[in-house]
Symmetry: C5
Subunit: 362 residues, 5 copies
């Protein structure tokens, strides 16, 4: 839990690093997650597929100069100098580079003369406590290449890599825009997995509150709510983003063949949004259940107290009366009065319990 709070806190704190700097200043505000930035290339066309690992920016430029589609994957974004070199080799705008390394940058699509710049968020769930992690992923789609920037060596694109190598599906026969689509599709598929994990957490907390609601649960509900909100904030702009992309009309970068795929991807984002909104409703219900179970507990406790008190208080009073030390108290002398009093006490008790039963308290 501490972890969760600290993460949120950091996000806020780092942004002020840029104060007073001139615009376009490349400030990496995230947490460094890899030791060294590594660049890999997969170059393919319908017939061949070639892979290069740990290449230099210059090699990237050369790869792109050849016919076929190049997918350049950059793992790690803390090395602003390297990314600047890469940017210069491909003639990217200085603000594009600043956005690539700024992990606080929100989702967006920007069209430049020679490329489309796409900022995405990768959702994943922490294995230990199932908290939502958000990773910054950028794509640059040029005429015959896609450059992807990840914060770390993620395995999210492995399935796609295999499909390219083995020439499964349509990918090898399509242009770079289909590659961009396939990369985004892989990211969106991860949203579903993250949503499943959140669904699991919802179920766990729901079960716990039904069986034994506790003070900490309020906090857990709140943390879950924040995660659902973060997911929501990653899902809604994604829809807009894909909508923008599907309407983009630059023919040399985006081919008409991919239109139906963008529409399909758009459908997926709507499905994610539906799921997230559903989570919110379910969580709202859990919250209500929690609050009303607090009230019910209080009712239970008070009922217990009231029953005990109202049964015994009159009895204790009667005992008190015959504990008085007056000289003249005729009942004290009678032989069976002790048993009569005990009998009266028993009747009072029975009466009270009957009364409570009629009131459905017991």
């Amino acid at each position: 839990m501490e972890q969760g709070k600290k993460k949120k806190r950091k996000k806020v704190a780092r942004q002020s690093v840029k104060t007073g700097m001139s615009p376009g200043y490349m400030a990496f505000v995230g947490e460094q997650k890899v030791d060294r930035v590594r660049i890999d290339i997969i170059h393919y066309d319908e017939n061949s597929c070639r892979e290069l690992t740990d290449v230099s920016p210059e090699q990237c430029r050369q790869a792109v100069a050849q016919p076929g589609v190049s997918w350049i994957n950059v793992s790690g974004i803390h090395d602003t100098a390297l990314i600047e070199t890469l940017g210069k080799a491909f003639d990217f705008h200085v603000l594009t580079l600043a956005d690539i390394v700024n992990t606080d940058q929100r989702l967006k699509v920007e069209e430049f003369k020679n490329y489309i710049f796409i900022v995405m968020k990768m959702l994943s769930c922490n294995d230990s406590n199932s908290e939502l992690n958000i990773e910054h992923v950028s794509l640059i789609l040029g005429q015959n290449y896609v450059i992807s920037f990840q914060e770390t060596f993620g395995d999210v694109f492995d399935g796609l890599r295999d499909r390219i190598r083995s020439s499964k599906g349509r990918i090898r026969t399509m242009k770079a825009d289909y590659l961009a689509y396939a990369l985004m599709d892989a990211v969106v598929d991860n949203y579903f997995i993250a949503a499943e994990r959140i669904g699991d957490r919802l179920e766990i907390i729901d079960d716990r509150i039904l069986s034994d609601p506790r003070q900490e649960d309020m906090r857990a509900i709140h943390l879950l709510k924040l995660d659902i909100l973060n997911m929501r904030k990653a899902a809604w702009p994604l829809r807009e983003e894909i909508s923008t992309l599907s309407k983009y009309e630059g023919q040399d970068i985006k081919t008409s063949e991919t239109a139906v795929y963008w529409r399909d991807l758009y459908d997926h984002t709507i499905q994610i949004i539906d799921m997230v909104e559903n989570f919110r409703e379910i969580l709202g219900g859990i919250h209500d259940t929690y609050l009303s179970s607090l009230s019910n507990r209080m009712n239970e406790i008070m009922k217990m107290l009231t029953i005990m008190a109202t049964v015994f208080i009159p009895l204790t009073f009667i005992a008190g009366v015959y504990g008085m030390n007056f000289e003249y108290m005729p009942e004290l002398k009678w032989h069976y009065s002790y048993f009569v009093v005990l009998g009266v006490m028993f009747l009072i008790t029975v009466g009270m319990l009957a009364y409570f039963r009629r009131k459905k308290w017991i």
Copy 2:
């Protein structure tokens, strides 16, 4: 209740099956509800009506080649191979086929060159616990045929089937678009029945909370709320869907004669939306009533306790005073002091009760 949660859970879990797959991968994510997919054809024109049961995709293609209107009903959608064969026979897009078998696909209308693809949801209520079931229904409207896909052998289209057979109403004199309208109308009519069932549950829970509110009711309210929300989520896009259809202008598929019927259907969906919104308001009121009845109960309990305690505590104190063992307590020697004390106790009791009555506590 367990049932309800499990169902929701499954929905979330299944989607991730598709992760890493290429788009258009046909994944049936629902629960298999029939043993074998069955295809039936009703072929009719103004004068004749012919029915074929359990046909092959090839027979479907042949039926459609003849003049008249063909209604092809597919019961069961888990057999992706069969549906793919059917799709190839009619030249449907691969993503259309994927949507037909994806029971998580939300409502939509898609126009293709030679057909309109319509995804709907059929609402029905579980007979045992009245929970809302949502079934995935797709329609493909071509120039002279309609293909309907259901998850199971539902009886929802039986009334329509009878009207075709007996040539009741206008149906035999109209084109395929009227058939599509009639199928959708049958689905929408089922919304009304589902709404009635939800109305029944609302009434039952309302009565129960008025007579004897319990902790479980909060949960029941929440489950009902989720069902109403699901109904709402099925109703709002339906309105949009029918609005889109009524504005569709492809003359060879949609004739102008059906315009007024689409408008009527649109009116029905608005009526359903009104009902659902009404349910939400009523449920909101039940929720408030429940919460305030919890508070009232607490007040009742506390009043009981307070009355008992405040009446008997002073009396017990008095008894305690005269139970003290001081040697010199003059009242103890007086002859009638016991009765005087009893009298004082009685007066205190009467005074207290009068005070409570004036405060309207009893």
Copy 3:
């Protein structure tokens, strides 16, 4: 209260009667309120005014064939056969007729070639319990006639009838569209009366909650809320409806002279909407007052208990101490210790009360 619930229930239940029927099936889903449907005609022009009572559909057709304006009033809509005959005489669309008898049909304006069809709701308040009644009223505005359909022999149009007979105001000099306007104006005026009644109920419940809030009040608040919502649902579409009518441009049916009157009517509906929204705010305040008065009551009760208990518990303890039977308790022998103890008890009581007064509990 039972009444109220039953009414709402029925509304839901009846709609399913139409399931499986072909569209345009005329199903009367309301409650029959008159024994026999009666048709009356008032035929007037600038100089003359003629009234016919209990006429046949054929007589209606003849009346309309003559010059001047005809107002045909149909009281009772359960006789679907009669209304169908009337509809055929005037060549109305089959769906129009279905909407006239469907009391669940919501407000709408539909333009047909030769007439405008208007569905309205008449609001009135039950005299016994002030509950809101909603009656289904339809108007058909043709070139030189208006046909009005009411569920019962209402007196809402009596003022208008008098103005026609006595040639008061502009009505006799105007065309049929002014008559339609005047009829709608009469209906809208009734909204104000219904609003007044709701205002009365608000005031009564407000007073009651201030003086003595009870558990049933929550229910009354909820019922009132539903009535206000129903009124709202009748008012908002009315605004749209009148806006649509005032923009209608068919010159042969709607004359330009009435434009300013439609605008005035539109103003009235906005005023009603303002009132209804105001009611919602006031009711929200009453709800809050109710809930906080529950809390305050609890505080009162608990304060009472706490004061009694904290005053007497220490005193009882002291009495208990001197009621112990130890052989050696020196105080018991002292002559004035009884009075000293009583004094101490008195001082404790005074101290406690002073403490409570300082805490503003008493």
Copy 4:
């Protein structure tokens, strides 16, 4: 408080006076605030300024016929006959006249051929209890005159009157539309004063709730909320109204020179709206503070009770044990057992108090 409710009530009740009347029927639905309607004229141009008091409608018509700008101020609107005469002299529409005397008419701008009709609301605060009063003010802006209608002899236009007399500012050099602007500006300035008063009430109630929250405060919060809502309802349409006016393009009535002033006035209304929205937020916070202070009070009370009860109940039990009359109770004979028991009791008390201190209850 009674006052407040009665005022709201009346507003609702009066509207039904018009039921059954023909449209344009002039019904004064407010409270008569002056004995006799008085009409005053200020006639001015760049060089001269002439004032006429208590004139007839005919004199108004004559004044307007002369060159220069005429400002005709009508104080009191209950005399419908006089206003009808005035309306005929200037050829105003009958519905305009009905709106002038209908104090329930909401804000609006209507353009007629020869004049613009503006309905405004003047806000002021009752001096005794600071409740918001809303007065009905109408303006008619013609080519060279402005007629203002007030419910009473208000002093809100006095500053403007002085500026005209003393030729301060631009007013004497401008046309009638500037005069209309200046009148509206004066009304809007009064909104700020009313807002200040509401701000005062907010502060007072805020202080009171912090020091000593009481049951009546809930009511006061609610009344304040209604006043803020009323202010809001007067402010939002005002913005629209001024926006409409600033877009009006009839050159003979509105000159282009005033454009920048309308924009400035528009800015003021936005500022008022900001203030009102701010009040709502602050009031929301006060409401939350009130509710949570109720809960805190309850906690305080319960803590008091619990501490007293849990400390003394065990002690009383011990005393009770040694008050039993068994023949064989060895402790009773021991010489120091009384003091030992007292010591034990003291230790229990100290232990309990330490426990409560550790729990931060005391």
Copy 5:
């Protein structure tokens, strides 16, 4: 806290100063923060940079007449006479001047013939209690000059001043519109710092409520909420403002080279809005946690009371029974009955505690 309330109050009170004044009346409604208004000029082009301190309005006019870009910074806005002189020298509209000195003026962009007028708000946090301060900043962007108006000698533009002096970044090579952008960028950077401080306060209050929630926290939550709302009110119009500026098309004032920078600034404002909305969510969660922790505390207290009372009340009753003074009570004579009773009491206690443990109360 007192401070905070007083500030808000003042804001409301001052506005009424202008009532009755003619429009364009320059009323300084803020708090005077500097002794004397000071005007400084930085005049630069690609090659040179000249600074003048404490100049007269006339010197400003002369500086602007020279080629190159002039940045005129005015510190202090209470001296309306000086600002009027400056305004006349540059031919600014009278309403522009009124807006410069009106610290209540909200954010806006106004285009005049020869300049663009921009009103901004500078956010900063009080060092002692971290409360949000809002300062009024105006910019006037002319063809070759920018005039900035601050309430005090802020250090917010120091970084920019250094960049101009040392010719760092692009600033010396760009036109006046880039200077305006750079000034606004500096202001926006301060929003991030203010947001960080609010984030700190959120964290502090969150920690406090988790460890020990108190009555004052409700107030602190509310104050924080108001600050977040104020920040929000400063952030949303900022977005609009920058959007308006980036769409401005007057070529002589705004060059096309800055377009990408405006877009970047726009992105920043969206990021701020995201942060603020996030704060609201987090604060909402803190509020819920606070309320539920109140309920939990109450449960704790009541549990304590109930356990103590239900354990000891029966025991005290038993003791009371054997404290009765009846002559014939056989148990009293038996030799071991005292120990038997003590044993029974012990068993009852153990039973009760076991019951409570099973109920998970202890």
